[in-house]
Point group: D2
């Protein structure tokens, strides 16, 4: 069995990850990390897990976690993993990061778009961009760090990649108009994400400046060569 | 023109009240009270009011407000009006309270169900229960204080009243199963009210113990005589 | 009182028109035309009109209707009005057409996009495009025929018009990405419009070929001069 | 591998059944029956099955189907299976019926509630009520005919069964107030099921007379003894 630990297990991405991993016959979730619900039963946060997950939520101690699992998933805000990642850690466990910390090869681009300093850029080159439909070959049992793509990037790249690859479109004429569900805004208690504000509504945001842009451009750049 | 002031104008009840009063040809809203958005333009909170409402949000100073309007609507949490209401105030303005403070004649029942002390019970007897379909006659230009009914109470009483009045049902066999939209939970930023938690979902709450119960019982009691 | 008659009063556009006209103090709806519900009470189709509208649904006899009202609204499929419109009719009543029959000045463009022959093109020049934010001056008490704009056209033109008018954008660089609610697909019983097919879903259609395109181009053409 | 055939594979129940069976490692779907879409690719009806299900939709020839599979699921209207079921068929395949045809032991009760004649009542006694949480022991590899419970029956029985079984409630005081999503109304193109009619709406129906009542009463009757 592959022992997995999740940091950010009660967010929407983390919760979906739990659901998927529980359906994987070779994976066992050993650690439900959730800073907001430490010591609370996981099923108290997601009641559909009642009598399915008995674990309590844990903190985000990567050192301790690394001793107990084979792989760590970080479903965390930008900068979290970059702030804690060390060579020691990578020698003990494999890490799949769902944040943007290791998706962009050019650290200055990352820092410009996310407006935070990258605390451990030395691992960026090693990270494999985990879009398996395209990078499956680069993802092997030797891979230590996987940068999982974001929502818009996944749909945009998978859609445009073949067209760009085959030279069927001019990459610089590409306009991506993508819609995301509200879960994309996370599980934070914010008025704009309340049902009554969101329901039957659609809102333009990040127009011409969404931070997934460089990620899409970089990947499609490889396709274009 | 009837000059109106609203305390709690940016909540869902207050926002709907604004919308309705703006359609009333004899009413002019003079005061958009909102503790959370003081000095912010009202249309910045509800952007559909852009170029329709130019006012900024004000505080909830009832004394000052009473000097400027003919009627005050309090779309506020339980206990707010009871904590500030005075004879002086009632001599200056009429008040329509959308909270439960003056809906229940028996103060001990109010305090039991809402678990707060009633700060000005001396006005309870004077208050008229503002369900105009039933109490229209009691609501005159002499009425100083109107206790506006709640959501469940309105639909429950209007539905059951004629049946009880005509003796067509045994009041004590009545079971009310009512559903409320999420706006009923207010505009507070709480995780349970997020779109992703609420959408396509329905939740039982207040089963056999919803605090609108005494209000419904009292009004139907009058119907039964 | 302005006496109004509606053909297609039980469709979504017609139903909304009824709701709006009922709020107009100078208008009285004299004729609820609905081929699908002839002789049925209007409120049986829209139950929120119970005890508000007592009329039964009528057929779409324009001749008879013209004798009884001052204005006829046709909330009907493309080609309906064009197939029945006559000079005699226009001498008796004013007509506001919610279909596309008289929106496009070039009949060949209309026939190309809507794939139907235009049966009374002789009235196209007379028709005024009823986007009052832009054409208010052209709409007078002498206007006999108003071609009401469609959904996408209204939002697209109102958004782009000032930019084009002021020469702030190159009209031929304009890309309109608009979303419509399902009501835009009408009230026909079709599987793709069922709640379970539509809910939480979004679908691309009419990409680069939506039939509102010529209408938008024509109006923005006037803006560009 | 268990070879399965589905009659009514393009309805909502059938579509969900396909989804579930495809996740079952020992099951292979051999026959996608759909009278409405004969010879059409299944993925053309449910596009999420593109490149996952290559089969075309077949008719509902039970005889032919019985030669090719081990189990037949009938996700069909009431009366369909009862009209075709024969001893020969049951000797060749096991049948799981998602309709009500074999759920109720008393054929007169079935005919009263569903207002149709039961064409093959001789198999009713043999049928096992497939609510596995309660009847798991009765469902063996010898079972030939399983009557799968309906939506309301499942949630109602699973909720009330333990209470009735343990004598914690008087069965005849039980009031079931259940809500169903619109998929429960099936995939027929009917105006009342259109998104614009259903969305943000809730409707009372089958009050005190829903046809799942006898099914619930029968099963809870066993619990009460």
């Amino acid at each position: 069995m592959i022992r997995a630990g999740i940091i950010g297990a009660t967010g929407y991405a983390g919760g979906e990850l739990v659901r998927i991993l529980m359906g994987h016959k070779d994976v066992e979730i050993k650690w439900y990390g959730s800073r907001s619900y430490i010591d609370k039963k996981y099923y108290e946060v997601y009641q559909n897990m009642f009598q399915i997950v008995e674990d309590v939520c844990r903190d985000d101690n990567l050192e301790e976690l690394a001793e107990q699992v084979d792989v760590i998933f970080t479903a965390t805000p930008q900068g979290f993993l970059a702030g804690l990642l060390t060579e020691e850690l990578l020698q003990k466990v494999k890490i799949v990061d769902l944040s943007a910390d290791y998706r962009i090869k050019d650290v200055s681009v990352y820092e410009k778009w996310y407006k935070i300093e990258h605390k451990s850029p030395q691992f960026i080159q090693e990270a494999v961009y985990g879009l398996c439909e395209i990078n499956r070959k680069q993802i092997s049992d030797k891979t230590r760090l996987i940068a999982n793509p974001g929502c818009y990037t996944t749909c945009s790249i998978l859609t445009a990649y073949p067209l760009v690859k085959e030279g069927l479109i001019e990459p610089d004429t590409l306009i991506v108009d993508a819609k995301s569900g509200t879960s994309g805004a996370g599980r934070g208690a914010k008025v704009p994400n309340l049902f009554c504000e969101v329901n039957e509504n659609i809102k333009a945001y990040g127009v011409a400046s969404h931070r997934h842009t460089p990620e899409i451009e970089e990947q499609l750049g490889y396709a274009a060569g």
